[in-house]
Assembly symmetry: C2
Homo-oligomer: 206 residues x 2
Amino acid sequence: MPKRPARKSAYHHGDLRNALIQAGTRLLRHVGLDDLSLRRVAKEAKVSPAAPYRHFPDKHALLAAISERGFHSLHARLEAARAASPGDLDASGQAYLAFALAEPETYRLMFTKNVLCEGEPPESLQEAGRQAFQSLVATIAEGQASGRIARRDADQLALGAWALVHGVAMLIIDGALDREPYNQLPPGHLLSACQAIFREGWRTLP
Amino acid sequence: MPKRPARKSAYHHGDLRNALIQAGTRLLRHVGLDDLSLRRVAKEAKVSPAAPYRHFPDKHALLAAISERGFHSLHARLEAARAASPGDLDASGQAYLAFALAEPETYRLMFTKNVLCEGEPPESLQEAGRQAFQSLVATIAEGQASGRIARRDADQLALGAWALVHGVAMLIIDGALDREPYNQLPPGHLLSACQAIFREGWRTLP
DNA sequence: TGTACATCAGTGAACGCGCGTTCACTGATGTAC
DNA sequence: TGTACATCAGTGAACGCGCGTTCACTGATGTAC
């Protein structure tokens, strides 16, 4: 009874909730977060401005749903990286960055709290975020188990790795690295350089 | 002839350009970037909605000026940290974070490109950003000169240090760390933990 | 299988709002004589 | 020192716009008989 195929009467859409999330994601790609309005998403989905209210209580809820789907994509990429290179923290970081740069405005949305909700974020969104983060944690645990990663506090390692890659991603997305000497290198190399320091440390050895 | 003292006729303000930048900074603190409009800034400065156009060609220019002042403040904090602890990269990072958390919405503005301008950012804003960044670079140079920081590529060290602290700052500002176990620690400790890894490295030693 | 009907996902017009920006104006200022 | 005047930083009303949201409605759907 649910899960109607997309092709129906054109009056009843059949899968509008999903279509709105996809339309929103597409608009993020093409017009950006600042110009994303409920009305534009409705238009992109070829539906009247009031139609989204059948599926989302308000604009925040739609944005939260788009963001949630973003976290699922991110999670999928991290899991793929983990499957390909278990315990390889640098590979996970590169996969993370690849997502952020493939969908920069979705990524920005995912980390812009006030736009996603007023007050507490919906539980399902929080859960999606936790899931993606857990993938990072799992990589670290694997790395520690195999002896490649030192047995430091895993929460701290996860935070550090996350902050580093998030920082690089945001700096690139916001254009802060569009200048000498950083604009001479592809993003993956910029991250690699940061990862090398994070792996080796910057202190002088005795 | 320029630099009129603030108290004049109340019709001619005397120093409106500055007053607008301050009013904007105050509003960022109290209502946030999303609700910052030219009209609100004018109102906060007790001036008509058209008055700002005597000093800024458009809204972007006012925001860029606010942002520029933000970079000057950040630069001042970094220089103070450097004077107090030359060559201490961790101290610089803490000073950086302190600024970001003291003025979170100004900080967010400073790194939100599309809001600051369309197309190229104004030269003076870019220069202010470079200046702040150079303070970090100088700290690294000092640290290398005194032998505390390894003689790696300084550009890479600067990028890594910047990305790490920017990442931590953004994650905190956007509420991504408002959950277990990270919400149990003050921001400075979270950063310290990340800095420890960045300093020592996470690899296992032979 | 065929028909009557309740459901509810959509429509489209309308609302009030705050926005960035413009325009003709006003009146305080500092300068020239 | 005193007055006429050009300058230009402000005013306040107005513009057109797109926004989020509401409402009474319409018509396709699936179900009960």
